[in-house]
Symmetry: C2
Subunit: 264 residues, 2 copies
């Protein structure tokens, strides 16, 4: 690529998150960076968009560097939509989201604001990557991630991604010496076993706090969970065509169009 | 099935939505119904969950009938989690979500609270279906939908669904005579071309309203969009394994683990 690429940077932990600052610093070394990120944390927002409320956008400067920065009152998906339609002069060459404070591997991809931003860019035909570090601390050390973030981003700029595919990159929370390399993976079968902590408010009203335990149901050695447990950086190609193509044939054998029987 | 099935009913338009009431009336004719639905409209919430705030649940009765009803302050995915862990005595035999006031075909599945509830149930191993009528009006007539809702639900109870697959059912907004039948489909390639309406508040602050136009990019005759345009009820098998399996081989040819080159 002759000229410097235009890179859109966003996240779901909010514009002041240290993970976003780490991502900006890596992207500044690769291209021209425009940041459009939520003004407050949006974790667990899934692919929410703001369709019945107003959106505010404000140009700010939260850290030194050549990047332009905009803070937005919406969700990660809103940020990407606003960036493309209202803020950027041209379609970006790359959209990166993160670096998330915490894992987005396995089933977590479906609840992930970080990945919803990357998927939204993918829907717009922009090569996109979501990055996450397996450390939920606000004070997490992102130094180890930078080499892998740069490597994956530069490969995407060089090779491109096919329409409909974005990358979900998760980085183990360990020292640089322990990381064995990068592994291409599939999403592990898994779920959360929720626990609801039931409490009573000072006014006598019952309420719940959601918490839970992640359960990996998949013993495959080609999954993102296996890679991360074994100190590899996982790269999972992720799509927004949710069709279960393999099940179409079976459904066509069902008794759906026989008006004589009603299965009563 | 010898005994009456236990059916969990939810939606994203809120517990008072006429579409939910239509769905409850059909399900009451099939099984024992428990409703756990958001106390306010949640459209466009995607797969959001409430992880940093309290959840309130209240037993109510919003319309006549044998169903039990609970109103919940959370998102559609929260409702399903709470129902399974805190409200129901046993795992339901079926979870149905909707009937949504408006389409969830094509790329809309990814922004859909209706489908996020169905997917959440699917993740828990419960056969699940999301239903939508292509009419956004609160006063829409759901009478035409009932026959198809019953047909699909009874087929799912009879045949089951494989792990990892839920159904996305969309119903055209037309008279019963015009509907040609039920068609098994794939998700059409499509996107939204957003338009942001920029305005200024009384205090001089700029803000935006998100609006846009849906664009079908797919001329296949096996898509949900084609089916609906041609007055078929579309049934799209939908999955929550987002892995783009077909792209794993290509990614394995990339230069990701060569530490000598940095692609500088």
């Amino acid at each position: 690529m002759a000229k410097r690429p235009l890179i859109l940077v966003t996240n779901d932990d909010g514009i002041n998150a240290p993970g976003l600052r780490a991502l900006i610093s890596v992207m500044n070394s690769i291209g021209d960076v425009v940041v459009v990120a939520p003004d407050s944390p949006q974790s667990g927002m899934g692919h929410a968009i703001t369709i019945d409320s107003t959106l505010y956008v404000q140009q700010i400067k939260a850290s030194k560097g050549p990047q332009k920065e905009y803070s937005c009152s919406g969700t990660p998906a809103d940020c990407v939509k606003l960036a493309i339609r209202e803020i950027l002069d041209r379609k970006p060459d790359l959209c990166v989201s993160g670096i998330n404070h915490g894992s987005n591997s396995a089933i977590n991809v479906i609840y992930s604001g970080t990945m919803s931003a990357a998927l939204e860019a993918g829907i717009e035909g922009i090569p996109a990557i979501g990055f996450s570090l397996l450390n939920y601390d606000w004070e997490a050390n992102f130094d180890v991630t930078k080499k892998y973030v740069k490597k994956v981003a530069k490969n995407v700029l060089k090779e491109g991604l096919p329409n409909g595919v974005v990358l979900n990159v998760n980085i183990p929370n360990t020292s640089e010496n322990n990381i064995k390399g990068i592994k291409i993976c599939r999403q592990a079968k898994s779920n959360w076993v929720e626990e609801f902590d039931k409490r009573t408010s000072p006014l006598g009203k019952d309420y719940y706090w959601l918490s839970g335990k992640f359960v990996n149901l998949d013993d495959g050695e080609d999954t993102d969970e296996w890679a991360l447990e074994n100190n590899y950086v996982s790269v999972t190609p992720t799509q927004f065509d949710l069709t279960a193509h393999q099940h179409i044939k079976t459904l066509n054998t069902w008794d759906l169009n026989n008006t004589e029987t009603d299965l009563e």
